[in-house]
């Protein structure tokens, strides 16, 4: 009998800070005032802000309790497909907290920021090397912002060539943000379907690629967790009509150290440091979405750009073809420190091994759950595998029911109902950092839930039962949203 991580236990209620507040309560004692009070002109003062008055212990308990309601990768397996919730090594935090980095001020000027500039320069060089590209910008704030930055460069490239184009090709296995990024640049999305085995067929692209099409946006590996094996041929077709290939590198964590996107026909690629390079993700962010380009798009990179002259680093802004600035200052610097720490501590071999383990773990889950859950695209996967609820239909159990029930077993649910090309998708991404023992526990939990679907479907309909908040009424929440506390 495998012991599952999920169990019931005492959970503390916790009111809002304002409800705990008592007049005059304070976290410190200030020394007695020894100068005369000087009253400000009433024109300069307004009503005091409504801040809660609390003791230190009140505050510590408040946030400790809230953190105990949460589920993070530090508390359990978080197999959220496509989102890559990989573990964030604590050394990243230690390096980012070093005083020189943590206290760096963006207005201190190049002269007093040499360490920070050197880190940015080196990180750009490493990312360029890992991806096989010529140059990198670290400015974008997250993945979709990176996409937008990349598409602005493609737009600027066509404008520079004297003839703007109107369309962009987007496959059904791309990330949902791709069409939004293209639309913001004024391009109309032309959606295409992937082939029966889940990857793109060159003929599909050849049939619609024309000289009014700015290019294609390909997520590789795609959102089915499959490698787009025809990428080179597709890139040749797009290039032959004067278009460019945008690579969505959100899934780079499957091929880092193995495949260089810059060498397989992709012209511009964004990375998610908060996925591939183990920086915090979700509410713990912020994100960071560096963009790598080949020589064709290099002149269009955002400014300011870090350059190295002899042993000195500085920002330059004098670049005539640049798309301009896309973020205040230089992007999310603290996140860059964490990603740099990760790259240096892993080393080249370590990064490649991480990709291999991520792929191995996903395939292990896929094979172990074969027969338990349906596999709509049954072929070796990359870093994530996509199941659906086809086998559970006869018991009227859905992907949502199984995902909710996983919470009771102590696992964060996987991504559900995405990608859209799979009905009832149940998309698992274990990442490289889970041990075989933890993955086996997860597999056992899913198998137990599949058994419950047969034996006791009503129990699944009511799940989760052990969490602080049980099954939510999502329909009521959407129809009658309560937007005030």
């Amino acid at each position: 009998m495998i012991q599952q991580p999920g169990t019931s236990g005492l959970i503390f209620n916790e009111p809002l800070l304002w409800e705990k507040s008592r007049k005059g309560r304070c976290a410190m004692s200030l020394p007695k005032q020894d100068v005369d009070r000087s009253v400000l002109d009433t024109d300069l003062t307004g009503d005091a802000p409504n801040l809660p008055e609390l003791s230190e212990l009140d505050v510590v308990r408040h946030y400790t309790r809230l953190s105990q309601w949460n589920f993070g990768v530090d508390s359990g397996m978080y197999p959220l497909g496509s989102c890559t919730m990989k573990y964030n090594p604590k050394t990243n935090e230690v390096q980012a907290a070093r005083q020189g980095f943590a206290s760096a001020h963006p207005l201190s000027g190049d002269e007093f920021s040499q360490g920070a500039l050197k880190l940015m320069y080196n990180l750009e060089q490493h990312l360029a090397k890992i991806t096989g590209f010529h140059a990198v910008t670290l400015q974008p704030a997250a993945g979709a912002h990176g996409e937008f930055c990349g598409m602005l460069m493609i737009h600027a490239y066509h404008a520079k060539n004297g003839r703007q184009r109107s369309k962009i090709i987007i496959p059904d296995t791309a990330h949902g943000t791709n069409p939004a990024s293209a639309s913001l640049c004024g391009y109309e999305s032309v959606n295409i379907k992937s082939g029966p085995n889940g990857i793109l067929e060159p003929e599909t692209i050849a049939a619609i690629m024309d000289e009014d099409t700015a290019g294609i946006m390909i997520t590789n590996p795609n959102t089915l967790g499959l490698f787009e094996a025809n990428i080179k041929e597709i890139a040749d077709i797009v290039h032959s009509k004067g278009g460019l290939v945008y690579g969505d590198g959100a899934n780079m964590n499957a091929i880092m150290g193995i495949v260089k996107p810059g060498e397989i026909g992709i012209d511009v690629l964004h990375l998610n440091l908060h996925k591939t390079f183990s920086t915090p993700h979700g509410g713990g962010g912020p994100g960071s979405g560096p963009v790598a380009v080949g020589k064709t798009l290099e002149p269009f990179l955002p400014i300011p750009k870090v350059v190295k002259e002899l042993d000195t680093y500085k920002f330059i802004t004098n670049r005539p073809d640049t798309i301009g600035r896309i973020h205040t200052f230089y992007g999310h610097f603290g996140i860059m420190v964490r990603a740099y720490a990760y790259i240096l501590s892993m080393g080249a071999k370590g990064l490649a091994d991480a990709s291999k383990l991520a792929v191995l773990n996903a395939n292990y889950i896929k094979e172990s759950l074969r027969g338990t859950l349906n596999l709509p695209y049954d072929k070796p996967c990359m870093h994530e595998c996509v199941f659906n609820d086809q086998f559970q239909k006869e018991y009227h159990i859905t992907t949502m029911d199984m995902a909710k029930r996983l919470l009771d077993y102590g696992f964060h649910p996987p991504t559900v109902y995405f990608p859209l090309v799979v009905e009832g998708a149940f998309m698992v991404e274990p990442t490289e950092t889970e041990s075989k023992e933890d993955i086996d526990q997860f597999i056992h939990a899913v198998k137990s839930i599949a058994q419950e679907a047969k034996d006791n479907p009503e129990q699944l309909k009511k799940a989760p039962r052990l969490t602080k908040v049980t099954r939510m009424d999502e329909v009521l929440a959407a129809r009658k949203p309560c937007l005030r506390g």
Partner: protein, 132 residues
């Protein structure tokens, strides 16, 4: 989701490949989504409709239906001008789930080309399409 045999497809309306229905009443045509579409979408939480007076050509997107699962665009099956929209859906989008052919109708349109309505599918043709 229901089996095909448990879904309701009335004989007195026409059907489209996008799982809508259209019914002619005098000069006007009423449009909604059919039982298959509402069943696939699940619990509908919001319906976005055009404004009265908007003019569309066949195949144009004229609004969207949002369920807990997804937002789906809806396409106009025939060209014409919107003469009435179902105001009741603003407060009660669940009408589309409860009675998609009656209280859950979406818009009423004044067709600009009568032949477009005639070329929509009847129940038998639509069911053939669904069964593939």
């Amino acid at each position: 989701m229901k089996e095909l045999k448990d879904l309701n497809f009335p004989d007195d309306v026409k059907y489209t490949k996008d799982h809508e229905w259209a019914k002619k009443t005098g000069e006007l045509v009423t449009i909604g989504i059919n039982d298959y579409a509402q069943d696939q979408l699940g619990e509908i939480v919001f319906v976005e409709l055009p404004e009265v007076g908007d003019i569309f050509s066949e195949g144009d997107e004229f609004g969207s239906v949002e369920s807990v699962k997804a937002v789906s665009e809806i396409y106009i099956p025939i060209s014409g001008e919107i003469v009435e929209i179902n105001q009741g859906l603003e407060d009660a989008p669940e009408l589309v789930n409860q009675s998609c052919y009656t209280d859950g109708w979406l818009v009423s349109i004044k067709p600009s080309n009568a032949s477009e309505f005639e070329s929509l599918m009847d129940k038998a043709a639509y069911l053939d399409m669904l069964k593939g």
